[in-house]
């Protein structure tokens, strides 16, 4: 969401090849984890047919083999480009970090208040909107969510101190 078009000029943060190998390593580790737990459960034949680890064992095995192949294919590929440029990474982080903070805030403020704060923050910080617009959109959508989820569909969402104060729990 940068105002300029930085994709072409900014240097690569991570190459496609390194990212491919990192992902292959992670999937290999997950496969190994699945195999190890399957071995604990038993991968052979029990009283009731195949034991609980039988099926996952082969799943884990295939993940590991596939990961090795992917890693080898990636390392052989000489002309792989950039996975993400520094400017793109910055843009992604500008979305991801507030997202993580928002989810973290839910525990303290409740979903509605955290959502309103998050929308307001994003609009002000990225969109540079005027405060009245920011307040209008963030409060408006939050009230709409409350009406739809709490009142209409009656699915209770996480509530925080503000709802307790207003007696909406």
């Amino acid at each position: 969401m940068s105002d300029m078009d930085p994709q072409h000029e900014s240097p690569s943060a991570v190459s496609n090849r390194s990212m491919e190998i990192i992902v292959a390593a992670v999937t290999f580790a997950l496969g190994a984890l699945v195999i190890s737990d399957s071995l604990r459960l038993g991968i052979g034949w029990g009283d009731e047919g195949p034991k609980a680890g039988y099926f996952p064992f082969y799943i884990g095995l295939i993940i590991c083999i596939g990961s090795v192949v992917n890693a080898v294919l990636a390392s052989l590929n000489r002309k792989a480009g950039s996975f993400v440029s520094t400017a793109q990474l910055k843009d992604v982080m500008r979305a991801l970090v507030p997202m993580v903070l928002f989810v973290g805030l839910i525990g303290f403020l409740g979903l509605y208040v955290a959502g309103a704060v998050y929308i307001a923050f994003f609009m002000r910080w990225i969109g540079k909107y005027s405060w009245p617009k920011v307040a209008g959109v963030s409060l408006g959508t939050t009230i709409a969510f409350f009406v739809v989820f709490d009142l209409w569909f009656k699915v209770p969402l996480v509530k925080g101190p503000l709802e307790a104060l207003l007696g909406l729990n």
């Binding site: 737990d37 596939g66 843009d91």
Partner: protein, 502 residues
């Protein structure tokens, strides 16, 4: 004509004011999510599934609930075309081929014609798909009643082999993504023996991974991160559509009847075979380009280039529900989420559904006829509003979509852990889609994992571990053989390309 009788019964069930209102609501929501980035059909349905818990418990409520969810699906299919034609942004992967001629048309001031052609073709494609569902699915269901565990596993195997065999690019990425889905499905209580698997002593892991959370994260959050990176600047035509243009275009469309029929056939075939709407739309576009006498003008704003992919995408999207309903094997991520919803409501998708839940099945099928008609009316009349929503800057739309995703993830089990899981799946979705790891097989494996494993274990339990059970009779043998052929398709084509004289 037993089917016609059942269908009439279905209309009687589906045609209540409440259900028709739900149809409109579903279609409008569906078009909306089809238009917006980060909220596709699969993802929107996943968010709404928890909201239908209550509805599905009332008498007749399951039909209403499936009408709401399936109409979101139809709406999303329609909505994808709007963003493609007006802004050259495919809202859904199956709309990519629509941008090839749709966007040039709208650049030339023929937005109205392009939109009308897209919507009408979508409607026709879907109608062909629904006819196929009406008359073919009862036959398949009857046939599938004889299936045992071995046959079922063979069908699952076929589904997954098709994904591997038809994957573009590196098939090992498809395999790894799919197997990760199976591994995630295995987490929690083993359905056969009741032992805890892959929980590593963590209490929260006992209930396993919910596919709804995975779908919301992979498709929703992942898409938002990608949109942020690409920097979405919306420039495009006005979404005006008046009745005169609609009428003029309708008079022109019958000229393309050959393309329409061909695209419907391609769509229906691709829809039943897992792989779904996206390859169908490309394939049908390619065929139309080759065979049309205006083929040279394709990609410069040829109306036939809009008709072909839209017809095929809708025919495929609709007929993808045939294996979902009759065999319990969804052909697309969205069908997988619908299947998951059925399971949550306590319905077992599969051939027995046609015996034990006649009202539900035929209510749903009847609603498809009406739903698509409602869809056509809604999109033709409301395009300008949706075009306006598309102009809302991403710095407003983005956070609102993320809050909706978080609410959706939370409501599945009222658990904050799920919201964190959604974020993790979101990052995984972003990285995977950038590296061309396909997400659809992962989701399908996550939904079907337990059932595939159960059938596999029951099958080899019966045969005392002899894998020959999968070739035991003509039926299961044929399915297994077909699956193996598809599975090794990438190998054979690679070998063939080397051997073939240049």
């Amino acid at each position: 004509m037993e089917e016609l009788q059942s269908l009439m019964g279905g209309f009687a069930i589906a045609l209540t004011w409440f259900n028709i209102a739900l149809m409109f609501a579903g279609i409008i929501l569906g078009v909306l999510v089809g238009v917006l980035p980060g909220l596709g059909g699969a993802n929107a349905i996943a968010i709404l599934v928890p909201l239908t818990f209550g509805m599905a418990q009332q008498p007749g409520g399951q039909v209403s609930a499936i009408i709401l969810l399936s109409c979101i699906y139809w709406g999303a299919l329609f909505g994808g075309a709007i963003a493609s034609i007006l802004f050259n942004i495919p809202g859904e992967p199956w709309s990519v081929a629509t941008t090839f001629d749709g966007y040039p048309m709208s650049q030339q001031g023929k937005t109205g014609q392009a939109l009308t052609a897209a919507f009408t073709s979508s409607f026709i494609g879907a109608a062909v798909g629904v006819l196929l569902i009406t008359f073919v699915s009862p036959v398949i269901a009857k046939f599938a009643l004889k299936f045992g565990p071995a046959e079922y596993f063979a069908v699952y195997f076929l589904t997954f082999a098709a994904f591997i065999g038809m994957s573009k690019g590196n098939p090992f990425k498809t395999i790894v993504a799919m197997m990760l889905g199976f591994a995630l499905a295995a987490v929690g209580t083993d359905t056969v023996t009741g032992t805890m698997r892959l929980t590593f002593g963590i209490t929260e892991m006992l209930k396993g991974f919910d596919f709804l959370i995975a779908v919301i994260g992979l498709f929703g959050i992942g898409e938002i991160l990608k949109t942020m990176e690409e920097g979405l600047a919306i420039k495009g035509a006005e979404g005006k559509l008046n009745m005169r243009v609609v009428w003029e275009t309708w008079k022109e469309l019958p000229k393309y009847w050959v393309t329409t029929i061909r695209s419907s056939v391609v769509g229906c075939m691709m829809g039943i075979v897992p792989g779904g709407a996206t390859p169908a739309s490309f394939m049908s576009y390619g065929l139309a380009q080759r065979f049309s006498k205006n083929g040279k003008n394709f990609r410069n704003g040829e109306i036939e280039g809009v008709v072909a992919p839209e017809t095929a995408a809708h025919a495929a999207g609709t007929s993808a529900l045939i294996p979902m309903l009759t065999l319990g094997v969804p052909g697309s991520p969205t069908a997988a989420v619908l299947l998951g919803a059925l399971l949550i409501w306590g319905l077992q998708p599969g051939p027995l559904l046609f015996v034990e839940q006649k009202d539900f099945v035929w209510g749903l099928i009847a609603s498809m006829y009406l739903g698509n008609l409602v869809g056509l009316i809604v999109v033709l009349t409301t395009v300008p509003w949706f075009a306006m929503i598309l102009r809302v800057p991403f710095s407003i739309m983005g956070p609102v979509i993320i809050v909706i995703c978080a609410i959706g993830a939370y409501t599945v089990h009222s658990s904050m852990l799920d919201v964190w899981m959604m974020l993790i799946f979101g990052v995984v979705g972003y990285v995977f889609s950038k590296l061309n790891y396909p997400l659809a097989p992962l989701v399908l494996a996550l939904v079907l994992g337990d059932r595939a494993e159960e059938n596999f274990r029951n099958a080899i339990k019966g045969s005392q571990g002899d894998m020959g059970i999968f070739f035991d009779n003509g039926l299961v043998g044929t399915i297994t053989a077909l699956a193996l052929i598809l599975l090794f398709l990438p190998v054979t084509t690679a070998v063939w390309a080397k051997v073939k004289p240049k």
